[in-house]
């Protein structure tokens, strides 16, 4: 190698800078726009709290969704898993189970639903899109059945109080989301399990030939997705104070968007937990901002959709131009 080559190694290309700091840049940009447009409302201590608490559920779901997309699959059932495990927890709590046990069982329920997704994907060989489209409807249906189509509320005071806490402006919900993100970041970066999942997402055949147990890893991925949705269910119960049978409808869209905005590749094998958290926060800020600017809820959907398409297109465009 010549000396020239060595020097170049240290300077980052535009693509690398974009990959590393792109999402952070978008987030900062959005915050600045809001600060300029509505300075009086924006510079309040409650702003951080609100954004964080609104984003937590989405971040949690997106963290699980991330893994499903990482293996070049998808999990469309996450919204329904949030609702069903939340409903299950709520029922347990109002019938006298201690909150801690109820929460654990609820998360376990999420894991089992994910397990079911994984088993179905493995045994049928169908694309996860089809399987989870089916289970999305099934899980929602079961939620409606066990709840008799009505909301459940009146949780023990201990639970609601705990969930309403905040530690220096940061709500418990956000702390939970960040803790889960940390655990999963560790999993993806430092464990063989995580490495294998990336390998599987990159090339399933190669993974099989390399001795990776493809079905086992697929199963684990869907269980992780289920657990994250289960935890999101807990957080949602805490925030809303009741379990609605229609809770979290359509949340899979936001979760997918968060993962993709955060740089996860739809073709599998590429993405980072940090990016997903950023993606979740970006969506949270957009939501918060539109409320602040009193954009009507119908228009909000339009704006959100446009922003998702825009940011992902920009990302791909930059990547493609740099490859030539």
């Amino acid at each position: 190698m010549t000396a020239e080559n060595k020097v170049k190694q240290n300077t980052l290309s535009f693509k690398q800078i974009w990959q590393r700091y792109g999402t952070l840049g978008i987030l900062a940009l959005l915050l600045v726009i809001l600060a300029v447009l509505k300075p009086t409302y924006f510079f309040q201590s409650s702003t951080v709290t609100q954004i964080l608490s609104q984003s937590s559920v989405n971040i949690l779901i997106a963290l699980g969704e991330f893994f499903a997309i990482l293996i070049a699959g998808i999990d469309l059932s996450v919204g329904s898993v949030v609702a069903l495990s939340g409903m299950f927890m709520a029922k347990l709590m109002v019938s006298g189970t201690t909150p801690v046990l109820a929460v654990l069982l609820g998360i376990f329920m999420g894991a089992m639903l994910g397990f079911l997704n994984g088993i179905l994907v493995n045994s049928t060989g169908l694309h996860p899109f089809i399987i989870t489209l089916g289970t999305q409807a099934i899980f929602r249906g079961v939620t409606l059945i066990i709840s008799d189509s009505s909301a459940v509320f009146g949780f023990p005071a201990g639970f609601t109080k705990f969930m309403a806490q905040r530690i220096f402006y940061v709500p418990v919900a956000a702390l939970i989301a960040f803790a889960v993100a940390l655990v999963l970041a560790f999993l993806t970066k430092k464990t063989k399990l995580g490495r294998n999942i990336y390998a599987l997402g990159g090339n399933k055949e190669s993974a099989w030939y390399s001795g990776i147990n493809v079905k086992l890893h697929m199963l684990i991925v869907f269980i992780i997705s289920g657990i994250c949705a289960g935890i999101a269910g807990v957080v949602l119960l805490g925030r809303v104070g009741s379990a609605e049978p229609a809770a979290a409808t359509g949340f899979e869209t936001y979760a997918i968007a968060a993962a993709i905005i955060g740089g996860t590749s739809f073709f599998g094998g590429k993405g980072k937990i940090f990016g997903v958290v950023m993606g979740g926060l970006i969506i949270g800020v957009i939501n918060f901002g539109m409320n602040l600017l009193s954009v009507s809820s119908t228009l909000q959907q339009v704006v959100m959709g446009a922003l998702i398409i825009g940011s992902v297109t920009l990302d791909r465009f930059v990547a493609a131009e740099n490859r030539r």
Binding site: S13, K192, G194, Y198, S206, S210, G211, I212, N213, G268
Partner: protein, 509 residues
């Protein structure tokens, strides 16, 4: 192409290359792995934009091409990773993008009749005897390649670039390809031919241009040079020919690997048994489709077997999945490395460390932590050992040249430090100099007491490294030769013997 320079972040792939293509010639591009051959051609096909330099096409001057410019000016590329669309039929593949149409009332519809007619003509030209409506996924690699060539003809290309077209072909398929190439030459097409096989170059090439580390070494008429001259031009030194120990006798050596009565349900392998002794390198010859790779896949547990037993150092080993095999000390460098060896989303380091990490873990390869230090060590070891050309092992594998990618995959299997290693086409896409290094490495492994099995379609390769060569035909071992008795003629004769022909004749009746 004049003074073409291409810089990638970290590397200068081409520093001022001048290259021309005449009508009606085969211009060979030669050079070591990473010399810049593919990059130069990718500039011509519009994949990469040159950093500087100009391209002159039939009088028009460009400073950079888009893929469309390239196509419009009559350039077609047949990449090593074929780009035919498996889900379409042959005819649709040929005319995708410029389907013939006919008027049906007010609307234009696809004129399938015309398309089929035209496809038939083109297929005849490239010598492919298939129904135009056959789906491409049902074709063999060489047939797919013929479709690619036909596609270039359909687009009425004046320049055809073939980047290592023969790596996955058998010798008879190569002969067939050459016939087509000669025909195209006669029609006045300019052909760029990239290959690491010197014999082929001498046979088909008119002129040859040699690159080295992105610089221009020279252009010669093929008729004016010998193979040795070419090697000296590209490597800068001579390379020796054989890698066996003289007078080696393995009859009394310990059997370290044995396969008994291996049979596959699909009939591709029938009741095969063989033994490998300490220090011996065992090769498998045969036509493509004779079942060698299928046998290896079944031994390794990547594909199912109906019956058969495997013994490693005398111990019966299950080997029903790759995981079990790897745990039992088996490794297999697969033939289709892009599909079955390669993680495009990983850098060099991660590609290499997948195997050792799996091997040294429990619970189906899931349990355990990644050690960055270990990973670094494994990768550096293989980089040194195989002389992988990269500026850092943290570089993405897709940024490497074809041959260096192959080396990374080799390294991945070597890093597992397995007892028995199956090499399926070990030197696919690897340059002459590095081939010798890999043969030396294989011999060293065998001398260390490891088992080395080689499947190769290149007879010179088998003859250069193997101590024993078994010939496969229709799923069976039909002959086994000691190195000293083996010749190319004998191996070819055994793999195409009468029995096969008779059977075919019978089935036609």
């Amino acid at each position: 192409m004049k003074n073409v320079v291409k810089k990638f972040p970290g590397v200068t792939a081409l520093s001022g290359i001048t290259f021309d293509i005449l009508a009606g010639e085969v211009h060979v591009l030669l050079g070591e792995n990473g010399a810049g051959k593919s990059t130069l051609m990718k500039i011509l096909s519009g994949v990469h934009k040159p950093t500087s330099g100009t391209i002159n096409l039939g009088g028009k001057e460009f400073t950079g091409l888009t893929p469309k410019d390239s196509r419009d000016n009559g350039i077609s590329v047949i990449y090593q990773e074929l780009s035919v669309i498996n889900e379409l039929s042959i005819q649709e593949n040929l005319f995708v993008g410029h389907l013939p149409t006919k008027k049906l009332g007010f609307i234009n519809t696809v004129d399938y009749a015309q398309m089929k007619e035209h496809t038939k003509e083109l297929l005849e030209k490239v010598g492919l005897n298939r129904d135009p409506e056959t789906f491409v996924e049902n074709l063999s690699i060489s047939e797919k390649q013929q479709v690619e060539i036909a596609k270039a003809l359909a687009a009425d290309s004046k320049i055809l670039i073939m980047d290592e077209p023969t790596t996955s072909l058998t010798s008879s398929e190569v002969a067939h390809l050459f016939k087509v190439v000669r025909q195209l030459k006669k029609e006045g097409k300019g052909i760029v031919f990239i290959s690491h096989k010197l014999g082929e170059i001498m046979e088909i090439g008119d002129r040859v241009t040699v690159l080295k580390d992105g610089t221009y070494v020279g252009t010669k008429n093929v008729s004016d040079v010998t193979q040795d001259d070419l090697v000296t031009m590209m490597v800068g030194r001579q390379i020796s020919g054989s890698y066996q120990h003289e007078n080696a006798d393995f009859n009394k050596a310990e059997v370290i690997f044995e396969v008994k009565n291996l049979t596959r349900r699909d009939g591709k392998v029938k009741n095969v048994s063989f033994k490998l002794r300490r220090g011996e390198i065992l090769g498998f010859s045969g036509l493509v489709g004779s079942g060698r790779s299928e046998m290896m896949n079944s031994i390794f547990g990547a594909q199912p077997r109906e019956s058969g037993e495997i013994y490693i150092y005398g111990q019966k080993a299950d080997c029903l999945t790759p995981y079990q095999s790897i745990k039992n000390g088996l490794a297999m460098v697969t033939e289709n490395r892009r599909e079955t060896g390669f993680f495009h989303n990983f850098n060099i380091k991660k590609n290499i460390s997948v195997l050792p990490f799996i091997k040294k873990s429990s619970g189906g390869g899931t349990v355990g932590l990644i050690s960055a230090e270990q990973e670094e060590k494994w990768a550096d070891e293989q980089k040194q050992r195989l002389n992988i050309k990269c500026y850092s092992t943290a570089q993405g594998i897709t940024e490497l040249s074809g041959g260096n990618q192959q080396k990374v995959i080799l390294g991945k299997w070597l890093a597992a430090d397995s007892q028995i290693i199956i090499f399926d086409e070990p030197t696919k896409g690897i340059d002459v100099g590095s081939k010798g290094e890999i043969y030396t490495l294989m011999r060293k492994l065998a001398d260390e007491g490891k088992g080395v099995l080689v499947v190769s379609s290149e007879l010179p390769e088998l003859l250069a490294v193997c101590d024993t060569i078994s010939v496969f035909r229709e799923g069976e071992i039909v002959a086994t030769f000691d190195r000293k008795d083996a010749t190319e003629e004998k191996l070819v004769a055994a793999s195409t013997a009468e029995k096969g022909k008779e059977k075919k004749r019978d089935s036609r009746k």
